[in-house]
């Protein structure tokens, strides 16, 4: 049996390994090593837990069985999941972290002796506060992530669900959670504990339903952050350094990602969380109903334009993910490169449904990561490029964000696609994007609209090259 001090040191080591795991992600070369550090940290933490309890009786076998069941399910999912489903997968995994935190909190509440937290009905005050915060945040993470998962999966409509009095109701519930925690700590009543959990599940659900599909990058990052804070709360209860360090790391990681995503849309965090984009902007979209001339072309025209170009910039968006067009796109680019045409990719921070979504899809299609650029790196290059090939993106290219202070997306950083000599726009129809506004780019002199499914159009262009 390991002494408490020795195991604490091992937990510290595994915490440090988790820091190194995130640190590894600073470049693709070191990232695989980082992941290995993470795995090592986990093995150490689990082994030390077994050794410090030192109970290798029947219970140990049961623990191993449950561990294996989970492990097999996890491994199966990891090998089967297509890369386009990554946002759903991450949302699903967030929900599991949340639920696990809730379950551990319940276990600790029912059997505090096992965790050295006092006795049933007489739990140490500090531990009870930490436990109930961890459980509440875990429950919010769980139900919120389930909603995010359903929306991303398309089981639930991606459009915001709003009703009258939504915000006052949410505020009321949040206040009641604080009151419940206070009452729970003064009475130690188990009924209050269950009510607290139920109310937290409810608020997680209510917080996410008013948020629309294209705001999912913010939601996923935010839930990522919550799952971290929940883990940290439980870490304090269990007095476990590895869990406290991890919780803080994940919590701040999610918070930073939410910040980056909000900045990518030039919206405040609260504006996104309170929902309503799309709901209020609908009227603005309808005003612009007058017909304007659009130039549309076919794959042949597009192939002709690109063949005569010397540099092409590809701008992928969520539509590429929906059409699963990344492989067809890379084949097209390969053909272009054979004709000595310089090709690069421009990624907007909020393209897709989660941070880095486009990068993963391009990587899956074997696009080398040093051909893929972020907005700030590439935005000046549009002026010197011959063709911009916009595939499945819309709002992130809209020049109105720079010119019209009345526009809902005014101030949002956009890709300067209109500066290219010509723009090819693969889109299924002229319908406005998520923000509900018309894209001026469609009507520009040098824009050629290619109305088709992204994958089919890309394949046709390749044939014509």
């Amino acid at each position: 049996m390991l002494s408490a001090n020795l195991s604490a040191i091992f937990y510290l080591i595994s915490g440090v390994l988790f820091i190194l795991a995130l640190r590894g992600l600073s470049s693709p070369e070191t990232s695989r090593q980082g992941n290995f550090f993470g795995i090592l940290g986990m093995i150490i933490a689990i082994t030390v837990t077994f050794l410090s309890i030192g109970n290798f009786s029947t219970g140990f076998v049961v623990v191993l069985i449950f561990l294996l069941i989970g492990g097999l399910i996890g491994a199966f999912i990891a090998y089967k999941i297509p890369m386009t489903a990554m946002p759903e997968l991450v949302a699903g995994f967030h929900s599991l972290v949340g639920l696990a935190a809730v379950f551990v909190a319940i276990a600790a509440f029912l059997n505090p002796e096992a965790f050295n937290l006092g006795s049933t009905g007489n739990i140490k005050l500090g531990s009870l506060i930490e436990m109930s915060i961890g459980a509440a945040v875990g429950a919010i993470t769980f139900s919120g992530s389930i909603i995010a998962f359903l929306k991303l999966q398309g089981i639930m409509s991606g459009s915001p669900i709003t009703f009258k009095g939504q915000h006052p109701l949410n505020a009321l519930i949040l206040i009641s959670i604080i009151v419940l925690i206070y009452l729970l700590c003064s009475t130690q009543s188990s009924n209050l504990f269950w009510i607290l959990l139920a109310v937290s599940f409810l608020i997680g659900f209510l917080l996410i339903i008013p948020i629309g599909g294209a705001d999912m990058p913010v939601v996923i990052s935010m839930l990522n952050s919550y799952s971290g804070w929940a883990a940290a709360g439980i870490g304090f209860t269990l007095e476990n350094t590895a869990l406290i360090i991890t919780g803080a790391l994940v919590g701040s990681s999610g918070a930073i990602l939410s910040y980056i995503m909000c900045k990518g849309m030039n919206r405040s965090f609260f504006n996104v969380i309170l929902g309503g984009f799309g709901a209020t902007e609908q009227s603005a979209g309808e005003k612009n109903k007058e017909q304007r001339p659009v130039k549309s072309g076919n794959a042949d025209d597009a192939a002709f334009l690109m063949k005569n170009a010397s540099s092409v910039i590809i701008v992928p968006g969520y539509g590429m993910a929906v059409a699963q067009a990344q492989h067809a796109l890379r084949e097209m680019v390969d053909t272009l490169k054979k004709n000595d045409i310089k090709v690069s990719y421009a990624i907007h921070p909020v393209a897709g449904r989660m941070p880095g979504h486009m990068n993963v899809l391009l990587a899956e299609a074997n696009v080398p990561y040093d051909e893929v650029f972020e907005l700030e790196e590439i935005n000046n290059d549009f002026a010197n490029a011959d063709v911009a090939f916009v595939i499945g993106a819309n709002d992130v290219t809209n020049p109105v964000a720079k010119t019209d202070p009345q526009s809902p997306i005014y101030g949002m950083p956009v890709l300067d696609v209109e500066k290219c000599k010509s723009v090819l726009f693969v889109k299924r129809s002229l319908s406005p994007g998520y923000a509900g506004i018309d894209n001026d780019l469609f009507y520009k002199e040098n824009t050629l609209m290619l109305f088709a499914d992204a994958k089919k159009m890309t394949e046709d262009i390749t044939k014509n090259l």
Binding site: S27, G74, V97, V104, A231, L243, A248, L249
Partner: protein, 102 residues
């Protein structure tokens, strides 16, 4: 007067937030998806709590309400740990550099 051990844990927590802040800002944006997918398994280190709860019963009563929640939490966390690390590994294996000879 002795310092409450809680203060030490709080110190670790606050300092880790700062470490997290600087480490995450240095993550390259193209790896933001793997970043999220790896934070899931590492926050599933919560499994240590689940194991403690699962092993708390004595040999006569392996299954009581508390330990059952522990066992369930073990499975949930294990899905995340295995699934999360493996899917991240799979994703990272795809990030390749341009071949020199091209």
């Amino acid at each position: 007067m002795e310092i409450d051990p809680f203060i030490f844990r709080l110190s670790i927590f606050i300092l880790s937030i700062f470490i997290g802040y600087y480490v995450v800002w240095s993550v390259t944006p193209s790896l933001h998806t793997p970043l999220m997918s790896v934070t899931n398994p590492i926050s599933s280190v919560i499994i240590v709590g689940a194991i403690i709860a699962g092993l708390a019963g004595n040999s006569d009563t392996i299954f009581n309400t508390s330990s059952i929640f522990g066992f369930l939490a073990i499975s949930l966390a294990a899905i995340n740990i295995f699934g999360g690390f493996l899917v991240t590994q799979r994703m990272l294996a795809m990030y390749k550099k341009k071949k020199k000879d091209k």
